[in-house]
């Protein structure tokens, strides 16, 4: 009987000892180092082309102060518009986003967005992926990856389609 209890004790001691030794899990989250971009992880040298009417301005995302969204440093789209220094009120315009490969939300039936939501939209300064505040409840088609162009135009009357 003594043997049983000593074995019992040693069994638990062995397993619990191994269990108690550093049970933390290390995680590399795969953060912003998108090789598809042409600049650094902080966005330096990464640009997005902002255009309206005859104007087309390359905006350096690395030169804009980031905002924290869910703990991630992103650039607000309204700040991108402001950095372009295009003299127009964004809230009176609609915006189209075009990816590096030419993808645009309208190709999936998602209408261009009204300018007043730009202050709740973000672009990753490294990957140029778009993120929208989840309270907007936008469909996935607006989460453009690798956005290269941000094209403004006068409203066509279809912008409320985003709320379909």
């Amino acid at each position: 009987m003594m043997l049983r209890y000593s074995t019992l004790a040693s069994t638990f001691a062995l397993l619990l000892l191994s269990a108690c030794s550093s049970s933390d899990q290390t995680v590399d989250p795969g953060s912003n180092q998108n090789p598809a971009t042409d600049g650094g992880a902080d966005g330096s040298g990464v640009t997005i082309q902002v255009s309206y009417q005859s104007q087309s301005i390359p905006v350096d995302l690395g030169a804009i102060t980031t905002s924290s969204y869910k703990g991630v440093n992103l650039v607000k789209l309204s700040d991108v518009w402001a950095a372009s220094q295009i003299a127009a009120d964004r809230t009176t315009l609609e915006f189209e986003f075009v990816a590096t490969d030419g993808f645009k939300p309208s190709s999936k039936g998602c209408a261009d967005l009204p300018g007043d939501v730009l202050d709740r939209g973000y672009i990753d300064p490294a990957s140029r992926n778009l993120t929208w505040d989840e309270s907007l409840g936008f469909k996935g088609c607006y989460s453009v990856k690798g956005a290269a162009q941000m094209n403004a135009h006068a409203p066509t009357g279809g912008s409320d389609a985003a709320a379909d």
Binding site: M1, R4, Y5, T7, L8, T11, F12, L15, L16, S18, A19, C20, S23, D24, Q25, T26, V27, D28, P29, G30, S31, N32, Q33, N34, A36, Y69, K70, G71, V72, A99, T100, D101, G102, F103, K108, G109, D124, S127, N129, T131, W132, E134, S135, L136, G137, F138, K139, G140, C141, S143, V144, K145, G146, A162, A163, D164
Partner: protein
Amino acid sequence: MRKSLLIGPAAVVCWAAAAFAQSATGPSVVPGASGSASPAASDKPPAGGEEGRPLEVVVQGQRPGTRGTAVEKLDRTILDRFGATNVSEALDRLPSSISAFSARGERILSLRGFDQRQILVTIDGVPVQVPYDGQLDLGKFPLGLVDHITVVKGAGSLLFGPNGLGGAIDIATRRPGEGPAIVLSTETAPFYAQRLSGVGTAKQGPVAVLGGVAFENVRYFPLSDSFTPTYNENGGRRENSDRRSLTAMGKARWELDDHNEVVASAWHLDGQFGVPPGVFDLTRRFWRWSDWHVNSFAMAHGYRDAKLTVDETLYYSLVGNTLDSYDNAGYSTQLLPASGTSTYADRTFGGNARLAYRFACSEGKCVTARGWFGGKKDWHSSQASVGADWVDVDSTTLTGEGQVDGPFGKQILWLAGTQVDAEIPGRSAAAGKPNAAIGVGPMGALTWQPHRIVDFTASVAQRTRFPTLKERFSSAFGNLEPNPSLAPERATNMSLDASVRPIRQLRADAGVFDSEVRGLVIQVPLNSQTMQWQNAGRARFYGVELALRSRPLRWLEVWGGWVAMKTRRLDQSPPTDVIPYRPDQKATVAVTVLPIPELAFTVIGRYIGSQSFQNKDTSQWGTLGGYKMIDARVDVMATDGLRLWLRGTNLTDANVQGRFSFPEPGRQVFVGASLAWPEGNRDMMSPGTL
């Protein structure tokens, strides 16, 4: 990394050494319940050979290809020892299987590198899956109604049906008229989780019936205290992790005469499940499975005599669900564009016939010719949102398999067979119709037993998996482009297994496996926003598996295993050849000590190695480091048939993510009781508990 690689084998070797050292004093207890029995241990073939009865799958025994690490059988005792509450958790205790919560709140497993779509899963021999998706969350199936689970890996998976590219898993419910007449079981984690199950069976003359019900109500699962709150998750009670389900089952068996038997079964699962959002996701999903149900009906007839075994089975399954996407964490409104309700209503109708004919018998061993012929039709109907048009697609699969196995002299067992699968696509939901396809899968295996304590088995098999309806036709709300012309995946599985049984109290298995998949179906980007399933890849899964089962003393049981594995795509170069969520190694050690017959202590330790994944927000590859989990339980036989237990899971309260952004539960403690009548047994040392 190198240090962690040594943990698994070191543990196995340590326990093996202990078993050898202590074996001299142990009684004769046969550790035969897990995996295949040694040829030497089988004095004569059982009546009806090794064939299963109607609605039963039997894979253990003399046949090559079903030996060593290639087969695991988890019987009721092991399932109890594991302390798992559902099928997924039970399988997750195996070194060769890995599962974790996904973005859909499901626990989808992989087995030796193959994902669950590539594994044939059956309940009582009847395929169980969402017909559209080719897989199903086994975490939704309570263990209360399960008698045992059999896992066949790689090359050994012939004679089960189509689509078992990398193996097969059969979940067996209890056989009517056998075992205790009534088993009642309950378990609770005070204030947030309750589980109840009851099974009753009776036999009157040639008729036996069985009925069972299982209920689960979990308000939430707790996160580890060391979880760091994020914007999406405060910690403590995991958001939207509630689950409630009711499972009911009925089976009846009628022995018409000495040779004929009819079995019918029906079971029903109905539940509601929350989908915990990703804790790091920039865009959360507020999802709930408002309805998730499976109804399955099967009827089978079997004939058995000294030489011939035949059975025929018909089955019909209805699998449906409703997924509600809400506006926010209130889970009550659906006003925003991304919210809505989508519905699946799928069906499967099928049947199969198995036969086995034994001849040329000598010294208790026979040559056996086996056949398996079957067909099934899968229908999928779905509605992407309320008021939208229903989408209907279907497909028919036919399978014929033939196999002959037998002895060659006293030391050799051989097996040769071929499986032919054909798919006849039906209605299409995209431009173009899929082409009919055929797959031919030869299999061969050889067992050599140079001594009664050791045998070696080499096996090779080629298998085919037809693409699922989802892979062909899913648009995933515009994120996927359908590909009706998707072709089947094909795999060549090879394994070499050795089983050693130096003493009756110890069995050690070692296996080397190597699988190559061609025409691997993977998602390929068509543009920055749209993916498409394509036969774009080749992959190779290879590794080594060790298993140890020992009962060196009457009061000590050891169950352990270790798998080291490499999974990589052959059509890519490093570092982009990674297959996500495939740990480089996994080890499990379970030790049960029974100081007195009425008391059992079990400690289960698991180590899961590091695994790669792709962050969906950044598209970059990351790594989840290896982690350990410790579970333990105490079982007490209070009176005849009454068992009480206290168990804890993740005792060290490790904060780990099984998948990135989806943490596993923290420490949990449960108390439970079960009552079996009238065959209660105070002694938990009964043989075969390993």
